[in-house]
């Protein structure tokens, strides 16, 4: 009764499941269905014996039969079979569970066991599993992460009756979600469109729907999703340039399962190249497109660069559209190159790559090192714009390399090819280590890209032929007394072939200008070099090279300073002197000892290698300094008694006959009576004498500064100071060297206990050539003076021919000129002359010709109206006209002489104002004249004036020096003579002779004219209207005020040079 119940239960289940499976109908697993990422099946078995046992009715043999859920005959014993994947597709788990198990739990009855046995087999994984259990069996089979089709067999046993299931198959592919797409990438078209593409992981995939999402990386939560059906690419035109985006894609399976999102693709659109790289052949044309995603860049402004070094001619460009540029290039040589498209000089990071098929020349050179670990360093000369691999292959010999090459190519066996240990990179050097020095190495470069490889021409190197040996070692050098430098060294142990050597040496003395002397090739590991002098230390270096055959020279060995061989210690110490310098800032006194060079002279068997400077201060404190062969040595002196002894030393000892110096701060004794020096071009003769009552010094030291050495060129005092020690018996000395003649010599008497009072004398040059030159100049000066004197007298004679007889002059009538020797006698009036200003001018200003036409009537009429004309040219003209009107006998013509053409010449305007009724004025004016015309020429001219312009009226052009309101008539005579350049020369000469004579001119400023007039009025008021007062400014002659402003139109502003002014009354002809 119970069995019947169970059977009914199973039957009900069967029907239910059957309907459910029929509804799914998506099974491709044999006998099962895929649902919720699981495979399910219902297996029902017919077990006759079991029925007999359970119901006691069965008469069939004990072999049963199992059918899957679609069995026509219902079975009493059914199993639920469930398979699923565990983990990341690592295991498939199948579970078979009898309905009896569930029933047993509820019925709590004792029944015979139902044994379930399951066999699982994966053919792909070649793996099987077997499991058994009572009412329940669970099997797990490892799939190793791969998809597989798993076979399933189940046998059910009950009371020794067994039933077998049909073969069931489970495809694990349907038990999981689809894999996300892979290889998500983007391409840019030549039109500038951006297309994203991806691939499915399995080619026969049945996913057909995709979703792609993208977002700026800074806004990752704001995804934009695009659905794609039936294709694995999409156009995304919404992307903005110069922003970093993240993009992902996923797919949907046949059972509507969505995969996970693919890996992120992060990108930023800036500049894209199409194609990004290309592999081409030499001579082929290649066209590249560049897309400017940056909208501010324009294709019309594109500049294509080859390797960012060379601009490609614009004729090869094409503008595809506003943001796409193209270039067509032809690469002739094999190798690799890069193209960049820039907006002007602004370039992006990206570039396109061209790989040109063939072998390129890389100039590979190698240098090997044969030492503890043999190595070889190879360099090449090729652009660093790529990642280069250095490959090499070892051969036994380079002799038959061609045959071996053929076999190698045939074999294409790269197993013996090695790569530079540092790997690919942009370096240009690689060091190979632990090499066989006698093997042959084939070395070449290789660059991969553009779906191809580019290689360089190989080089074949035998490391032993390019060895750079280590430098020789254990170098020893000795300077021998027989003027020989003996050198020996050790060769490097490797390489073992014979070596040749080069030796170079340089004297340590005077290292600044020292030049290496090279000797070689030498075949032995020792050498002896003849020297010019002994006792000299040398710096010695040696290098080596293969004697016969290829190879490099080694580096020079470590320098070695030769040892000077001595047989005894030096006998005498060096002579030295000192410089004492006060350091006021630090309140110390520095003493620098200057050692007389050379100190090495002497016995070659007792060479001096250095100095010992021994100090002994007051209080008997003694210390010493050991130095090398230096020229100077400094120490601080504390102004106390300090004795310095300098000794020469070598390896065998120090000198015994040494000179010492005592520095004293106390007053020095005075013992030199006289000291003088006379210098010529090459020698200075020094002489001195001593006071008689003083002891004779131990020696004298004469020091001076070398004027050849410029202190502004950082030549220190110690280098400039020259000194010489003189024997005490000598009282004079000739020093022959280059002297300037202005050196200051200082004579120091040196006593045993210190120095005496020094005496200084500045040398004077006794240069005969200079004397001769001086004599010649003096002689020429005398000749010139005499010539001038004679010419002046001659001129006087010529000029005075035209001078009228003074007895004819009215004012001179009755005068005995023979008796007149002074001006006072000539003009014995007590009133002074009113002087027009003595004006100087550097330019010729005016020429005025004045023709006097005596007109007694007019003059009589105008008598008492004096007008002194000192105005400008124009005014002068006007005034002249006035004069002409007012004083008929006078005709005044003023002309501007200061034209640009003549501006370079100086002229002198003489002006004489003659007032007939006031001789006293004339007298005073002449006094003024004579006082100001202190130059001989002008004195002469003064004399000439009256002769040249007899009866002429000298008018001063520029200035009105009198009050026009003055009722007195003024007659003015002007005379102009060209003031020749001699005046300038005279001036220069006066300067050159050192006789300073300030020349002054007298000026009446126009601006002050009115003031002057007022002053004059006042003066007139003071002087009773009979005198004329002029404002006079005195200024140096060459102040140059007028020289630049004078022209014809402004001549009136010019100031005449040296204007001796005459003023006299007009003389009415009798």
């Amino acid at each position: 009764m119970m069995s019947l119940f169970i059977m009914l239960v199973l039957l009900v289940n069967f029907i239910t499941i059957s309907r459910g499976l029929a509804a799914l109908s998506s099974s491709d697993g044999r006998g099962g269905v895929y649902e919720d990422l699981k495979w399910k099946a219902l297996l029902c078995c017919e077990l006759p014996f079991a029925q007999t046992l359970d119901g006691g009715l069965s008469e069939h043999p004990p072999v049963g039969q199992c059918l899957l859920l679609n069995a026509t005959k219902p079975a009493r014993n059914c199993l639920d079979i469930l398979c699923w994947l565990e983990g990341e597709r690592t295991n498939l788990i199948c579970n078979a569970k009898s309905h009896r198990a569930a029933a047993a739990a509820s019925l709590l009855t004792v029944r015979p066991q139902l044994v379930v046995q399951m066999n699982v087999l994966s053919e792909e994984a070649n793996h099987a599993a077997r499991c058994a259990g009572e009412d329940i069996a669970m099997c797990s089979i490892s799939l190793h992460g791969n998809d597989a089709t798993v076979s399933l067999n189940i046998s059910v046993s009950l009371n020794e009756t067994t039933a077998l299931s049909p073969k069931m198959q489970v495809s694990t592919h349907h038990l999981r979600t689809p894999d996300p797409p892979v290889n998500l990438h983007y391409n840019v078209t030549t039109e500038g469109e951006v297309i994203f593409r991806w691939s499915d992981r399995q080619p026969d995939i049945d996913e057909i729907n995709y979703e792609i999402r993208y977002s700026p990386i800074s806004l990752l939560q704001q995804w934009e999703v695009v659905k794609i059906k039936g294709r694995s690419w999409v156009h995304l035109n919404e992307l903005r340039p110069r922003i970093t985006y993240t993009v992902q894609v996923r797919c949907q399976s046949h059972f509507s399962y969505w995969s996970e999102w693919s890996q992120r693709l992060d990108f930023m659109l800036d500049v894209s190249y199409i194609p990004a790289e290309v592999f081409t052949t030499p001579g082929s044309e290649v066209t590249f497109y560049s897309v400017f995603h940056n909208r501010s860049w324009n294709a019309s402004n594109a500049m294509w660069m080859l390797n960012a070094q060379v601009k490609i001619p614009e004729s090869q460009y094409r503008v595809i559209n506003e943001h796409v540029s193209a270039v067509t290039v032809t690469v002739d040589e094999p190798g690799f190159d890069y193209l960049m498209c820039c907006d002007g000089l602004n370039c992006g990071i990206a570039y396109a790559k061209i790989y040109t098929e063939g072998m390129f020349n890389a100039d590979i050179t190698c240098q090997s090192k044969n030492s503890v670990v043999d190595s070889m360093s190879c360099k090449w000369n090729k652009s660093t714009w790529t990642q280069v691999r250095l490959l090499y292959r070892q051969y036994i010999s380079c002799e038959n390399i061609t045959e071996m090459e053929g076999s190698e190519e045939a074999e294409e066996n790269m197993s013996s090819v090695n790569e530079c240990p540092s790997g690919a990179g942009d370096d240009k050097e690689c060091t190979l280590k632990i090499l066989s020095m006698f093997s042959c190495y084939k070395i070449w470069l290789e660059v991969e890209g553009g779906h191809g490889k580019v290689r360089s021409f190989p080089v074949y190197v035998t490391p032993i032929d390019c060895v750079k040996p280590s430098p020789p070692s254990d170098l020893i050098a000795t300077t021998l007394p027989n003027k020989t430098l003996s050198v020996s060294w050790k060769r490097p142990s490797l390489p073992v072939y014979k070596l040749q050597y080069e030796l170079r040496f340089v004297a340590l003395r005077g290292m600044a200008n020292a030049q290496w002397k090279v000797i070689g090739p030498l075949l032995e590991t020792q050498a002896e070099i003849e020297l010019e002098e002994a006792c000299v230390q040398f710096k010695v270096e040696v290098r080596c090279k293969r004697l016969n055959g290829k190879g490099y020279s080694s580096d020079w060995s470590t320098s070695y300073t030769s040892v000077v061989y001595n047989r005894k210690a030096p006998e005498t110490g060096p002579d030295f002197w000192r410089i004492i310098q006060e350091d006021v800032a630090r309140s110390v006194t520095n003493v620098t000892l200057i050692f007389k060079q050379p100190v090495l002279a002497g016995d070659p068997h007792s060479c001096v290698e250095g100095l010992v400077i021994e100090h002994q201060a007051s209080g008997k404190a003694v210390w010493s300094n050991k130095t090398s062969l230096v020229q100077f040595h400094s120490f601080q002196w504390r102004k106390e008694a300090h004795t310095v002894t300098v000794m020469s030393r070598n390896a065998l000892g120090i000198s015994t006959q040494n000179r010492n110096m005592t520095l004293l701060h106390q007053p020095k004794r005075h013992c030199v009576r006289s000291f003088s020096a006379v210098a010529n071009a090459s020698c200075v003769h020094l002489s001195w004498s001593l006071l008689s009552d003083h002891p004779v010094p131990q020696s004298f030291v004469i020091e001076w500064l070398d004027l050849n050495k410029n202190p502004e060129q950082d030549v220190s005092l110690t280098e400039r100071l020259q000194w010489v020690r003189v024997q005490p018996a000598l009282r004079d000395l000739s020093l022959c060297r280059r002297f300037y003649g202005s050196e200051e010599f200082t004579l120091y008497p040196v006593f045993v206990d210190g120095e005496g009072e020094p005496v200084r004398y500045t040398a004077t040059r006794g240069d005969p050539a200079a004397y001769i030159l001086l004599l010649i100049i003096a002689f020429l000066s005398v000749v010139l003076f005499v010539t001038l004197l004679m010419s002046q007298n001659q001129m006087k004679k010529l000029m005075w021919k035209d001078v009228p007889n003074p007895n004819n002059c009215s004012w001179a009538k009755g005068m005995d000129f023979r008796q007149i020797d002074t001006m006072e006698r000539l003009f014995p009036h007590s009133e002074g002359l009113t002087a027009c200003p003595l004006l100087l001018v550097s330019e010729s200003i005016c020429e005025v010709e004045i023709i006097e036409k005596p007109h007694p009537v007019t003059l009589e009429h105008e008598k008492g109206k004096e007008v002194l004309m000192c105005n400008s040219g124009d005014k002068t003209t006007t005034d002249s006209a006035l004069l002409a009107d007012s004083s008929e006998p006078l005709s005044l013509e003023a002309s501007a002489a200061a034209t640009p053409e003549t501006s370079g010449q100086s002229s002198v305007t003489y002006s004489t104002v003659l007032l007939s009724d006031q001789p006293s004025l004339l007298r005073k004016q002449q006094e003024s004249l004579s006082s100001s015309s202190d130059e001989g020429n002008f004195s002469a001219n003064n004399s000439d004036i009256s002769g040249s312009f007899p009866g002429g009226l000298w008018d001063m052009e520029n200035h009105v020096c009198s009050d026009s309101a003055n009722p007195r008539h003024s007659s003015s005579y002007n005379s102009v003579e060209e003031f020749s350049e001699t005046s300038d020369q005279d001036y220069e000469a006066s300067e050159s002779t050192g006789v300073v004579k300030d020349l002054y001119y007298l000026e009446v400023n126009e601006k002050q004219e009115e003031e002057d007039e007022e002053e004059i009025e006042e003066a007139q008021g003071e002087q009773g209207k009979n005198e004329m007062v002029m404002r006079v400014d005195a200024r140096p002659l060459l102040e140059g005020k007028n020289s630049t402003t004078v022209n014809s139109s402004h001549v009136s502003h010019s100031i005449p040079l040296y204007l001796p002014q005459f003023r006299t009354e007009s003389i009415n002809p009798p």
Binding site: I217, R242, T244, D266, F267, M268, D270, A276, M305, A308, Q309, V310, K311, Y338, M340, C342, L345, N346, C347, G348, I349, A350, Y351, T384, W385, T386, Q387, S422, G423, A424, G425, D426, D427, K428
Partner: protein, 170 residues
Amino acid sequence: MYFPALLSLCILSMLGMVHSIPIHQDNLKNFKLQAETIILRIKDHSKELKLYPNISIGDPDLYPEIPADKPIQGLGSIVDALTTFQKVLQRLPKGKLSQIRIDLSTLLGSLKERMTSMRCTAKEPTNGRSLDILLQNNATHHITFGYFVLDRLKQFTQKMIGNLDQLKSC
């Protein structure tokens, strides 16, 4: 009664003194020497590329992850920036850059040691993700990208030399 308070005050004062102990000038000189060496190597590297005159590669605005314009605010900011540069250089191919990488690593190590001795708190790099993206996107253009990065490193190092006083504070 006042003893504990005085003791505490003394300890606090000593701690304050320890914190404000200035970096020895020799150390600063050492940092400067290292930085100048890096600058010199970068210049040599750039010279070797023999670029077209006045050419400008890379827009700094596009790569804010590469710090050169960030203000230097103490030792921490210097270490942060140099760490970024080190990460970038480590991702660039071997070769000429190797020496600069080692120099930078040494300088960074010295600065980190200084940070430790000054008890400065190390900052977490803030641009890790975007830096990775930057490196990934420019992996195929390592020459120009390396040039750009080195130029930025040079600028930053020059700025650091001008702000060596910043090494005295965290």
